[in-house]
Symmetry: C2
């Protein structure tokens, strides 16, 4: 995953170039309080000051201030929390406009909406399946041509002895493909790098990663993944499918493409974060389903990564999208392979059928499986640690696009060279039987009728290699071949993950694991062959151990739990392995977590994303909302001067996104009470349409602002700078009553952090108002306030907030 | 399911007898307001009156009052909502004691807790698996003896012509078993009747069904299910496993048995609703897993029925329990069948392996499958409608235990007679091949070397019948046999469900569906045999159609979605059928829902349980918290007189369970402000331990009340009547500060119903305080306030509350 190879981030280069039109950063509350105080001194803001009881926080904040004063070139660091990520708003903004619309809608209206949700899910499934087909077919064709060329070349030069020319041919071919793939990613859409799974995880968690669900990203991703797989890198095309599915979902569900400037005027109801997220979940599930032929696994993946609230109908719809996706893939590929109607290709990666005797296992094998799980966990942690250092190095030194392209090309050349060398020096010749399934058997220095077994592993697309490790007859590989292959492929895959190319880590992990798993099985069979009391066919079937090894290695790297178990079970097409795979994944996770986090979590942390986990850290009960919240809060009056609003929105140093709306009892000195919450995006739309009290009075025929106006602007609201407000208009007043959310969730100051966290996470909130017992606003809790506490080695730690 | 055959309910007979010691009914807020007003007139209560703004509700309430004035003998009716069900409290009561404990706990402490959670889940899995084994083995043994006896008898009398004696023998045997099963259920534990799935659904939804997770219930359930299956009723032993698993979980996780008066002093931390519910979810999943060999299906079942908030670690633990359960069952049964180590019995019902050619399907078969789904949906709805009428009849006329036992015995006798008659008049003789898998082939009037095919369907445990319908060679059954079998079994099963015996509806549904599905397949094959262009082995394999038919029928009856798909897929051991099964279940659900609800939902509604669905009714946006809430609310002062508290708790006419705690600024006329929430159960413990301010002063050495005291009393808190408070003590004061939840969730009065609903459901609340903008209590929303709105045929309907 090359998506963090730049100092800035997954996406910030484009932010710099397009800062005006894009993603106003979230920066709420207590950071840089000097500024907000100056502003409040200016008198144009209504601000509720700190209470005397928050002295503790005052101290903490001033400590933080000094840290925040550090120069801007702080590198990405997992001890920081970036302030540039906005949150998504999964809480419906139930303002008057919304409620009126909902009340107008009849029961039939809701039924129609429900039906269109199903239609959208069906479309998502079909399109995701088609994209998977497209990738698969193009990769097969291009890789076929490439391997055929090289094979002929090698065969020509094996006799005459000019094999270095073959090597050069191979390297140049790989080189070219990878260069194209890296250039489009690094120069046109850096967010398309890597597998996209961390980004989708963040999106489903509620963090807005800019441009992650754009059409352009999808196009670059699809082309990029084709280039990198054909380019012979140690990558898979499965991870990117999940991202692709998510993009498809986000596009289809909105009924328009902002990139193509086409609006089909359908599905307008779905133009808000809540609905869009549900569809993106379905898209991610459809992607998993297409990648692995695992519809249930896809649903569980979406839930494991995204769901904060389980809803039966939603899950059922997600499952529908998954099923349709795998079915479409299956159907189209069956036509492509000229067996129309034979639905035997459920996913991009096909583990092949595990049937007959090889599927059974015995009770005494379970400890062996658990041991393999531990090995997988350890190797996975090693992989992650190495990749972590590599990523840090990349963040520091390889952050310019041209450097990234050069690194990718270097990796491509090295991969080709290493592969060639390994094949060249390998002596593992195997007879080429009539039932052999090799696509490109390389004879090389083997006798006639034999082929080089190392070449099966290297001179092949990774999917085919995995399948041959699972299913080839015992004896097809000798242990030395497997050992060398594991070693080289481990380092190649580790180096590759994080390059500026679109590619996934699932298949390389499976391949590494399958290789050492098969090795494990062979060694086991050889140690016990003396006794020979076991039926060898069952107990030391190397294919079975290859499968367990693959599960262990993948689990050790990505640390997924239930969903990965189900994906593996579905990909093998057999539920018998359920228990061993679960035990192996569990062991791998426990062992791996002891050393290092999962690969995706590492990359999320290195991006300083304010990611909310399932629960508040265990030992955080001593913290309350008072310590956690940001204060003072910039509040707006229910009827507020336009000038004030423009000033607040233009204040780049604070850049708040949500504003509690308060109401002051006229001619009394009582403190103002909370009466609602309004978002920056809503204010922007109001300013753009000049919804001012004075104008409404003068022009009675003026069209009333509707929900449609907000939906049309979603999700790319214009920045405040693009809105022109004249000096006269600045003196007008705006009435926010109709547009604010009149019932924001609130908590008292004494609420403990776990309680705040639970409310925030379960409801997918973006802003949570902290109120005192007079219903006055005393603070605001946002995502970063909660995400910054985490359990480190020395108890509860607080991450620093940084404007990276 | 006989659990509603009494006028009162699933459980109320025992409530009447043990009213003092058990389940003080929930009766909160607005019902019978005259009483509470009289009380408040008496001056002993602090009550916040209605605000002038709630006139609308005043009107509604007075309408309701007249309805509530109806005589008490209103029968159970799906238009009523019973007030006798308490809610469970899934929101942690974060009072000072709890926070102190959490803050004292180190990180290691939390780790240990986490480990013990895993241990508990492992134990739940093992015990559930063992119970499943026990049921399976006992049923096999007893059924084996029974069928052997009858077979010998029939064979003896076939020649001599006294078959009526065989019939009598059969009927008497069935009769006896069913009588025993019905007596223990009807007289000792009525809640053990039926499959228990509706009860577990309610429990996981948050409704406290008395005695549903007691040890006694488990014992009766296990014995009952053995009796009813051996008694030859049209029932399965799978549904009850889910209930059994839940009971095991509730027992193990508490580390004690109140019934056995044993406290192991372990797992004390888990003695609260939140933790217990999580374990019960795991237990239900383990039950599904043991029943069907479907660990993933089990997890999904738990989530579909119970989860309000998905948590990765929790789900992973539930999956662990599921896996262990199916593994234990598998392992023990492998020993029992003398193939130790061969793990091929994953569940109680084994669909057998679908392998080889029979598993594939062609694209053009999909419309056929969908048509079968529609048939299944229609037949399922018919089943449900018939059962609904039958249940209404039972509620009205068959509510005394002895009548229930007699009905069960009648059904047993009729079942035996009908089966016998069908076999007797059947002419369907099939050759008894060497590979035949019949356990008890009945020759009857067939030629030597042949057996009666109708007997395979009837003269067998239902599980075996299902398997033979799935896997017997094409031609084993003739269409007439299948048609007659479907018809009779449909009505028998429909009559049986709802009897006072422990039994499930899964297997009968599968059996009916498999029979007509196979019939469908045979007819299909015969219509197309003219053309013969298809390879018949694949396309009209009757076993495949039997499977699809079984899925359609089961889906049409129970209307489960994702979980049922996965259960079916796992039970067949083959993922190939995923798509057709999903399409079939989807069609069955859509068609079935058009006519009637699912069977479990019907029974839940007939019990008037305040069941919360996933979302508020679609057209409920015009309702706000103001209309929904109960008011006036009985509030307590933070420092309250003991006498007042005792009086409030003793008031049987209101019987509130949660009390907002308010604080009045001394010597001011400002209204009292909300400062916490305290539960009846907590007050009871406080009164029992005489935690009075005066006593604390006089006896300084007095032990401080700890969380442990509350946990020891959980979940069977004594009734207020059992607590003696002297006249002197009545004058003492109680300080609630330490014990109340100081940060209850609140909503403003303007909050829309869907918003209130979402908060309530997502966080699993029991009481939600409605506060005005001065933070004064104006109302309280409880489960029944939300559950009473539902979408009927004429838009939004409101259920009547009734003290049934």
């Amino acid at each position: 995953m090359a998506n963090i190879t730049k100092k800035v981030s997954w996406s910030s280069r484009a932010d710099e170039s397009a800062a005006a039109g894009e993603s106003t950063p979230l920066l709420n509350g207590s950071e840089q309080p000097q500024h907000s105080r100056q502003l409040s001194g200016g008198g144009s803001l209504f601000q509720i000051g700190r209470l005397s009881t928050v002295d503790l926080e005052e101290e903490i904040t001033s400590d933080e201030d000094s840290l925040r004063g550090r120069p801007k070139e702080i590198p990405h660091n997992e001890k920081l929390l970036s302030l540039k990520y906005e949150s998504l708003d999964y809480d419906n903004i139930e303002n008057q406009l919304f409620l009126e619309e909902e009340r107008r809608m009849s029961y039939m209206g809701f039924r129609c909406l429900e039906i269109s949700r199903w239609v959208v899910c069906g479309l998502i499934g079909i399109l995701t399946g088609l994209i998977a087909c497209f990738i698969d077919i193009v990769v097969e064709q291009l890789a076929g041509i490439k391997y055929q060329l090289i094979k002929e070349n090698i065969e020509k030069f094996t006799e005459t002895g000019g094999l270095s020319i073959s090597l050069i041919l191979w390297a140049v071919l790989n080189f070219t493909f990878v260069m194209v793939g890296a250039i489009i990613v690094a120069f046109f859409e850096p967010i398309a790098a890597g597998s996209g799974i961390p980004q989708i995880k963040c999106y489903l968690n509620g963090v807005k990663i800019p441009r992650v669900v754009r059409l352009k990203t999808l196009v670059i991703k699809v082309c990029g993944v084709i280039c990198s797989v054909v380019g012979g890198l140690a990558v898979g095309k499965e991870g990117p499918m999940i991202h692709s599915g998510a993009v498809v979902a986000a596009g289809v569900s909105q009924g328009r493409s902002t990139s193509l400037k086409r609006d089909f005027k359908i599905f307008e109801y779905f133009r808000r974060d809540t609905e869009k997220r549900d569809f993106v979940s379905a898209g991610a599930a459809a992607g998993v389903s297409a990648a692995f032929g695992a519809p249930v696994g896809g649903v569980l993946f979406s839930l494991e990564e995204g769901a904060s609230f389980w809803n039966q109908m939603l899950t059922w719809r997600i499952f529908f999208a998954s099923m349709i996706s795998t079915f479409t893939l299956n159907f189209v590929l069956s036509i492509y392979h000229s067996h129309a109607g034979d639905l035997s290709n459920p996913g991009l990666i096909n583990f092949g059928r595990f049937e007959g005797d090889s599927v059974t296992y015995n009770l005494y094998e379970i400890p062996l499986f658990i041991a393999m799980g531990a090995i997988g966990g350890f190797l996975g942690a090693l992989f992650n640690v190495l990749n972590y250092w590599l990523t840090i190095f990349r963040i520091r030194y390889v952050h310019r696009p041209c450097l990234q392209v050069m690194e990718a090309m270097l990796v491509a050349a090295v991969t080709a060279t290493v592969s060639f060398t390994m094949i060249y020096f390998s002596n593992d010749c195997q007879p080429l039987g009539p039932e052999s399934t090799e696509e490109y058997p390389l004879q090389l220095f083997c006798a006639d009728g034999e082929y080089n077994s190392m070449a099966t592993a290297f001179f092949n697309t990774p999917e085919r290699s995995v399948r041959s490790l699972f299913h080839n007859q015992p004896g097809t590989y000798n242990p030395l071949t497997l050992g060398l292959f594991t070693l080289t492929y481990f380092f190649l895959a580790c180096w590759t993950y994080g390059l500026a190319v679109s590619a996934g880590v699932f298949i390389p992990s499976l391949l590494i694991g399958a290789a050492w798993g098969r090795l494990f099985g062979i060694l086991l069979a050889s140690t016990s062959s003396g006794g020979a009391q076991h039926s060898n066919a069952i107990w030391a079937d190397p294919g079975k151990y290859a499968l367990i090894g693959a599960a262990a290695q993948l689990g050790g790297i990505v640390r997924m739990t239930l969903s990965l178990t189900v994906i593996m079970v579905e990909a093998t097409g057999n539920v018998t392995y359920g228990l061993p795979i679960m035990l192996v994944l569990m062991t791998a996770k426990i062992v791996g977590d002891y050393f290092e986090e999962g690969l995706y979590d590492i990359h999320i942390k290195l991006q300083s994303v304010p990611f909310l986990h399932w629960e508040a850290p265990a030992t955080s009960h001593w913290l309350t909302a008072r310590e956690v919240m940001s204060s003072p809060v910039t509040c707006l009056n229910r009827i507020e001067k336009v000038g004030t609003i423009v000033d607040i929105l233009s204040n780049t140093s604070t850049n708040h996104n949500g504003f509690p709306v308060v109401v002051q009892v006229l001619e009394s000195d009582e403190p103002a009470k909370l009466c609602g919450l309004i978002l920056r995006s809503q204010l922007i739309v109001l300013l753009k349409h000049k919804v001012f009290v004075e104008l409404a009075r003068s022009r009675l025929t003026r069209r009333k602002l509707q929900l449609k106006d907000f939906r049309d602007a979603y999700p790319r609201f214009p920045p405040i700078q693009s809105i022109h407000v004249s000096q006269d208009e600045r003196e007008c007043m705006m009435d926010l009553t109709e547009f604010m959310n009149p019932t924001p969730y609130t908590v008292p100051q004494e609420t403990s952090l776990p309680r705040v966290f639970k409310l925030f996470r379960a409801l997918g909130l973006r802003h949570l108002v902290v109120a005192d017992d007079e219903n006055r606003v005393v603070g605001l809790v946002t995502r970063k306030d909660l995400a910054r506490y985490h359990l480190g080695k020395h108890g509860l730690e607080e991450l620093q907030l940084a404007q990276t």
